[in-house]
Symmetry: C2
DNA sequence: GTAACTTCTAGAGTCAGGTCTAGATCAACA
DNA sequence: TGTTGATCTAGACCTGACTCTAGAAGTTAC
């Protein structure tokens, strides 16, 4: 029921280096236990917490914020308001991030479509009329100003 | 119609340091022009590109990828397939990131709700029955295993 | 018993993406 | 004419989140 650092690394997806680093940084809920020979030994609940931890990390929560949270947890009951506030703060950040990404995504989809159309036309042009007059005079400028201007004005 | 580095910094939101850094890193579409006294001078199109650039950055596109893109643009027409592929690659990344964030968000919303309920009950308890038997025996464990377990199993 | 493997600690190195400093030049104003 | 203030270059420094190294010691398999 107890795991070595290597096993935890495998199961959590974190490196042994990262596990030691997280410990130094105070990111474990409980102090990591040692065997009599000095080696670290982990339990199921450590893995559970690490899973949460990496989930929060992947949503962009900083190690500092995770430490803040786990410190509140370590203090025990009575600070739930603070924990709630902390989670809400990150939730707001994540929501803002999603909105931002959605915005960029819309623009990129448009851009991709324009390239696709351009290529389709370009290939057709080459088949029918190699020196088509509508060909862009300066790909660079068209690229930035026409194809991407929605970014700047949106 | 031409702008100093300070003006560009103000309008783009990037620092003068960052602008010089971006230039060194080859992130400008055109080489930045200089006045006779050696000072940089920028044009509208540089601002437009910087706006695009920061949009892409804010969606997590690395400077390396932006450079890759702008290098294709600089090469002129003929590599639209590569540009398209590059944009699609990033689009996929952004989509994956959004899905990931949505997942974390769902979990956090649940967590927040649990804290809210807990606080509501906790306060009610305190009013009616200060030593309510349902009170959690170990906030720490409950916190990790009960409240957050959806993270590990979802 | 010895080779191969894992772990330990302290501390150095890495990478991205900037940020800041020093010392010089240049411009604007009273 | 002196004083701000903006800019220049080269290069050092910073932060966050690891990652790696060296040297020692314990573990496992044959």
């Amino acid at each position: 029921m107890s795991l070595s650092i290597g096993e935890v690394a495998q199961r959590s997806g974190l490196s042994v280096h990262a596990l030691r680093f997280y410990e130094r940084e105070g990111l474990f809920a409980n102090p990591v236990r040692r065997l009599s020979n000095g080696r670290r030994t982990y339990y199921e609940e450590d893995l559970e917490w690490l899973a949460i931890c990496t989930k929060l990390r992947s949503s962009g929560m900083s190690l500092a914020m995770i430490r803040e949270y786990i410190e509140l947890v370590r203090q025990g009951t009575g600070n739930e308001h603070q924990r709630l506030e902390l989670l809400r703060r990150h939730q707001d950040q994540v929501e803002a991030q999603i909105r931002e990404l959605q915005g960029t995504l819309d623009v990129m989809r448009l851009k991709v479509r324009i390239y696709e159309d351009h290529l389709a036309r370009g290939e057709a042009d080459r088949l029918w009329n190699p020196s088509h007059p509508d060909t862009e005079p300066c790909a660079d400028r068209v690229d930035r100003v026409e194809h991407f201007c929605e970014v700047t004005s949106g």
